[in-house]
């Protein structure tokens, strides 16, 4: 049964991967209605992160801290993430530096986000934020069953606000029933 399914998948797809899924950009399966950001500038909302133009980025509003909560439509495994600098690095002071990543935490706000331990904390350098540089690998074992990610940008390079040009989250979906694999019987 299992073999038949993979065989069928391999026959239809030109580049088969094990389990039938390779690394994909997870922004395509965001559950947009459940995502939110705190301290975002209304003119530069979180949705801009996934447009792909670093001039259309996201900015914080009152101070440099920023919370971005991203919820997925299904459980995913997250392999790596990539932050891009705002406006091709025109203002390096606005770059984020310290980012805490929380998994499957809903309703985190600035009041309580310091009280919970993040799954991982990453420190971004100016080189990491370049468009051409490699994404940052996460502890893959910790990100095996992710329904939502919360990024808490704690510190930046010293500017009054933080600005991010783009965000890419690479990973795979956890194998769930894919209705496309069902073939008509008889």
């Amino acid at each position: 049964m299992m073999n038949a399914a993979t065989a069928a998948g391999g026959a239809s797809e030109p580049a088969p991967a094990e389990d039938g899924n390779s690394l994909i950009d997870l922004s395509t399966i965001l559950d947009k209605s459940a995502c939110y950001a705190r301290n975002e500038n209304a003119g530069f909302p979180w949705g801009n992160l996934f447009i792909g133009d670093s001039r259309l980025g996201m900015r914080s509003d009152a101070d440099e801290q920023l919370i971005i909560h991203l919820s997925f439509q299904e459980f995913v495994r997250v392999k790596s993430i990539k932050f891009n600098e705002y406006n091709n690095g025109a203002d390096p002071e606005l770059n984020p530096v310290k980012v805490h990543i929380h998994i499957n935490r809903n309703n985190l706000g600035f009041e309580d986000i310091e009280d919970v331990d993040p799954a991982q904390t990453i420190t971004l350098t100016a080189a990491d934020l370049k468009e051409s540089s490699n994404p940052i690998e996460l502890y893959f074992v910790k990100f095996q069953r992710v329904k939502s990610l919360t990024f808490y940008i704690d510190e930046n390079e010293g500017g009054d606000i933080t600005a991010i040009g783009g965000l890419r989250i690479m990973g795979k979906t956890v194998a769930t029933t894919n209705m496309k694999d069902f073939k008509k019987q008889g």
């Binding site: 995502c35 301290n39 975002e40 209304a42 509003d61 009152a62 101070d63 309703n107 600035f110």
Partner: protein
Amino acid sequence: MPLESCMILLDNSEFMRNGDYLPSRLDAQSDAANMIVNQKTQSNPESTVGVISMSSTGPASGAELLVSPTDDLGKILGALHKVPLCGKMVVGKDAVDVAASVQVATLALKHRRNKNGSQRIVLFVGSPLSHADTKGLVKAGKQLKKNNVFIDVIVLGEVEENEPKLRELVDAANGTSNEEGERNCHLVTIPAGVLPSDVLISSPILAGDGGVTMGGGGGGGDAFAEYGGIDPNMDPELAMVLRVSMEEERARQERAAAAANEAKEGEESKTEGGGEGGNAAMEDMSDEDALLQQALAMSMAESQPSSEEAAGADTAMDIADVDDDAAMQMALQMSMQTEESSEGATASGGQFQDPAFVSNLLGSLPGVNPDDPAIQEALRKAKEDEDNKDKDKK
């Protein structure tokens, strides 16, 4: 009005027995709250409203959540109805703790079900805040801004004491960095003896985008207030036009105070801009108009040199960054040239050689000054070219 989750904070301390608003502060407040609830729930079917009373009978005697944000109008109105007067007076403390109540409201908003849409707090204050320090209120306001929560404050009585403090709160929540001048948080003071709902109906709190609602009526909120009372389904274009004009009017009103001196500058620039503008008769000209005038003057100044080039008969000129005016003039000029060269006749050419005719024609074009030395020069050159061509032909 866009989707919104709103918490209404009611003051139900003993000060609300005061009869300076009819029939009493508490009843006037619940009337106003009633109207706000109606307006919020009707403006968007998914909007939710919750109610918090700022003093309670319990041992904590702090803010009490009566209804968490819901779209069930019956629940909200039921809660509004049975808000009891209570609260203990403790020496050295206010009857209500605004900063703490606002935090409770933020918490209630944080756990709202529909994460889309904005968050708003509508705060009624009718008891004196003699002990509340401004610092705490400013801190609460900043916290609101950071959490993307808007706040509207309605001051019922105790105006002299409360208004400056609450204004600090609202200003902090609006933020000083907001250079666009877009203010989402408002403070409304209700003068004694006036029905609060009468004041609110025309305030930015209820009118939202509209500023002043037209014929809003005393009772319920006007569902189409932002479209000037026009049902957008019936006449979308008219509704849109009304809405745009109301937005402009609101922007003008909000800046009117700050724009007093800017308007003076605008007056000067208007005289510079010449009489081309059209609406020169407006006495209460806002800075927006002034900006428009400036922009007009600038675009004219830009179009001037390009039209000179066009007059210079430089047909290979690249028109990518030339504005419409100039492009049109160039096209005109080019068509004249082709006309001249194809016919090769002196009759039509002669017409353009006539300096009086040319200056008349140029004068009739917008933004072109026929007396401009550059244009005169260009005309002279064009004439020379023409003469050379004629020589070549011969």
